[in-house]
């Protein structure tokens, strides 16, 4: 009887201890941690449930048998770029549990993993994926890291890609993997395939230092150009007064398209001013460690014109986004009164610290100096 009691007591004590050990053990007890390998594979840890943007533009076949990289299936995405929800972009997250946008506890502790690898190919080649990413889900239970790779132009044969995770806090990742594509970069849509997505603990991975970028370095070259490095995502002030057309073909300075802004100056948000930052990545208000080292640049040039001439832009600038990961400096010109014809402007960057730039370009103006609003065009925005 005594022996039985001791046995039961041991069981009672050991069960919670075992459960605790199961809960606390990081997923990195193994050397790899699978996001997806095969339809219904037991080692898959995330579900491609988090569709974003123009979700009506996405079709998924998670058991495509058309030339998988390994096994018998891969995942096929077809992005139509029809802007079903009017956004011009779409994407998908692999989540844990399914449909978890940071509203419930889930995810995994991936501490110790140093990279995420995956294989990808386009149906034709040339499909542009704006970014692939790990983490970045916000909400009540936010991911502890966000790491991005892109833009990437896919080839028509399988190719392996790696997202470097060295030094990142991976203690809670509910958004294991994701991709985003835009209609600007894929006006005819894109069909692409993904396979063998997994985290790996590779001791040979080195921290990814920021590389000094070669010049010229474009903020905006042309619609959907792979050279575009920043996104016009940082809308400020009366953002409801601004219309953005990133693929205007009326009279571009160079290439097929330019950017057209229509600023109505109606004071939609009551600020009486408006402006837009080109950021890396999109919507990065210095909350994400990203951006570029543009130390080789001596000036930022761009071409601009007003629809009528006489439109006044209070400031054109670069840098100056402040937050946890602030731009290392800022520089600007203005006020600038635009001409009707294309005119090139330059922002002098001598003496500036350009080692960390997340706000690649910006303009701001206000209703006082443009009471009737302003329509203006920008093109060929680049660091030189």
């Amino acid at each position: 009887m005594k022996k039985l009691l001791v046995f039961l007591l041991a069981i009672v004590l050991l069960i919670p201890l075992y459960s605790y050990a199961q809960e606390a053990a990081p997923a990195t007890a193994n050397k790899s941690f699978v996001v997806y390998t095969e339809k219904r594979a037991p080692e898959n840890h995330y579900i491609p449930s988090g569709w974003m943007g123009d979700v009506g533009d996405i079709k998924m076949n998670d058991q495509a048998m058309d030339n998988p990289h390994s096994g018998t299936t891969c995942i096929q995405f077809t992005y139509s770029a029809k802007k079903t929800q009017g956004l011009g972009w779409a994407g998908a997250y692999w989540q844990n549990p399914a449909n978890n946008w940071g509203t419930k506890k889930g995810g995994f502790d991936l501490t110790g993993m140093t990279k995420l690898t995956f294989w990808a190919r386009g149906a034709k080649g040339g499909e542009v994926i704006q970014k692939f990413n790990v983490g970045g889900i916000k909400g009540t239970y936010p991911d502890t890291a966000v790491v991005e790779l892109g833009p990437i132009e896919l080839t028509d044969s399988w190719k392996e890609y790696t997202i470097n995770l060295v030094g990142k806090d991976l203690s809670y990742i509910s958004g294991g993997f994701g991709w985003v594509a835009t209609s600007d970069s894929n006006p005819q849509g894109a069909t692409f395939f993904l396979d063998d997505i997994k985290f790996e603990a590779d001791p040979n991975m080195k921290p990814l230092g920021k590389q000094t970028q070669k010049m010229p370095f474009y903020v905006y070259a042309d619609r959907g150009s792979m050279s575009n490095h920043f996104i016009a995502s940082g809308w400020m002030g009366d953002y409801g007064d601004v219309k953005f057309d990133g693929s205007n073909s009326e009279n571009p300075y160079l290439g097929d398209t330019c950017i057209k802004f229509t600023y109505t100056a109606k004071g939609a948000q009551g600020a009486r001013w408006a402006g837009i930052y080109w950021q890396n990545p999109a919507n990065n208000w210095a909350t994400v460690d990203a951006g570029f080292d543009l130390s080789k640049a001596t000036k930022l040039t761009f071409w601009a014109r007003g629809a009528k001439g006489g439109e006044r832009i209070e400031e054109f600038k670069m840098g100056g986004i402040m937050g946890e990961f602030s731009d290392s400096d800022s520089a600007g010109i203005g006020p600038v009164i635009l001409n009707k014809d294309w005119t090139q402007y330059a922002i002098d960057l001598s003496g500036k610290d350009l080692s960390y730039v997340i706000g690649g370009f910006c303009w701001a103006s206000n209703a006082d100096v443009n009471p009737e609003g302003a329509i203006f065009y920008l093109d060929e925005i680049k660091y030189e």
Partner: protein, 422 residues
């Protein structure tokens, strides 16, 4: 017997000791000659291009604080200089314990005797020196008329009177002309008219012309101050580094710049950029962080302490002889010593005895609470290193040092600026 005779005789009997004594005497003599012409406070440019502030022949790092001891229930018009409870005595003792060696006063009160008393008390009792400033008419209605000669003359007269009154105070450190008056040239604050400028159609050129007028005016004042006071440097007060490229062309008589910078963890690239555009030493004359988390709606002393320690680290990195930085920073005066309860809603006296948690401005550099609605995260009434309480002690609102007080104190104790611990 003459000194020379004694020396000669000594040479004969005790050559080594006497030669040593002679060398010592001669060294002291030359040192005396070298220092005789030096003012009490001056800027020294080192061979490596770095700058330091010298006070009585010794390097001096400004470990300062902006000082405006307005009690709860009063606003900036309150005459604290004549307060019988003498707040500067209580504060001076606390400051001394923290390691503060300088206060910054934005402008002296019209009661000269009261001002002298404050400067003397702080210096004689606690060794704390005073930076005296002048607003240069920044707050005048409808705007400061910097292009108007009679306005210029009036302001200059006021300042020269101030200099004459206090230049011989042993506790005086330096003068600061203006605060962020340069923004009036950019059309951002209190814009002022000028017939010459208003003719110019290009708004960018307008700014440049205004800046030239303004900075030339400040330089005139600096030049005249130097004529009557050779013992104290003159600083150009400036908001950020805006306009200093213009100042560099018209301000030869300015000794240093005193900049207001609110950039969160560090001051960014300002030290190097200043070196490249206007090679003068810099005093961070207003910087800091508030101690209220606007997002979580509660006091957060850790947040303030975190920013202030990080800012002081960046200051130290940029002092003379520190290889990490530009070597042009002579210290800073934190904003501010105590909370001021009138500031959030200054036009409504009924709020002056309420510690308002509202905010009127946003700054993403202070990112802990930037998620608050409309991003208004800067809580103007919570910048104090010491909090005030409505409880009175010796006729004054009780002072309670915040965590930043202790963190900065320890940082100063344990850190060295440039080559020497100060």
């Amino acid at each position: 017997m003459s000194l020379l005779g004694t020396l000669l005789r000594g040479f004969k009997n005790r050559p080594l000791l006497t030669w040593f004594s002679a060398a010592l005497i001669l060294s002291l003599f030359f040192l005396f000659l070298a220092n005789k012409g030096n003012p009490k406070v001056y800027i020294q440019k080192l061979r490596n291009g770095h700058y330091r502030l010298m006070v009585q022949q010794r390097p001096y790092l400004v470990k300062g604080v902006c000082y405006s001891p307005i009690p709860i229930g009063k606003n900036h018009e309150y005459d604290w200089w004549s307060d019988p409870s003498k707040p500067w005595l209580v504060d001076g003792e606390l400051m001394q314990k923290m390691g503060i060696n300088t206060i910054r006063l934005y402008q002296a009160h019209e009661n000269a005797q009261a001002v002298r008393t404050v400067i003397r008390d702080l210096y004689q009792r606690y060794g704390i020196r005073t930076i005296l400033g002048h607003w240069l008419g920044f707050w005048e209605y409808p705007c400061p008329l910097y292009a108007d000669k009679s306005f210029q003359e009036r302001i200059k007269k006021e300042i020269l009177e101030m200099v004459s009154l206090y230049k011989d105070e042993p506790g005086l450190l330096l003068w600061i002309l203006g605060n962020e008056n340069n923004y009036t040239c950019m059309g951002q604050l209190n814009p002022w008219p000028s017939e010459e400028v208003d003719k110019e159609a290009d708004p960018a050129k307008q700014r440049m012309l205004r800046a030239k007028i303004y900075y030339s005016f400040v330089n005139d004042i600096a030049r005249d101050i130097h004529r009557i006071d050779k013992n104290h440097p003159v600083a150009l007060g400036n908001g950020e580094l805006v306009g200093l490229d213009i100042a560099s062309t018209v301000c030869p008589d300015i000794d240093l710049v005193a900049c207001i910078i609110y950039r969160g963890k560090t001051f960014g690239n300002i030290f190097k950029y200043l070196k490249a555009t206007f090679d003068k030493p810099i005093l961070l004359s207003e910087f800091g962080a508030d101690a209220y988390d606007a997002y979580l709606q509660k006091e957060d002393q850790n947040m303030q302490a975190f920013f202030l320690e990080s800012q002081w680290r960046h200051i130290y990195e940029n002092t003379a002889n520190n290889k990490k930085g530009a070597g042009n920073c002579i210290g800073g005066t934190m904003f501010e010593w105590n909370d001021e309860w009138w500031k959030h809603n200054e036009s409504d006296p009924s709020t002056w005895d309420i510690h308002d948690t509202g905010s009127n401005w946003s700054n993403g550099s202070y990112y802990f609470d930037i998620q608050v609605k409309d991003n208004k995260n800067m809580n103007e009434e919570w910048f104090g290193l010491v909090a005030l309480s409505q409880d009175l002690e010796n006729g004054l609102n009780k002072r309670s040092p915040r965590k930043a007080y202790y963190v900065v104190r320890e940082f100063w104790k344990n850190s060295t600026a440039g080559a020497k611990k100060q």
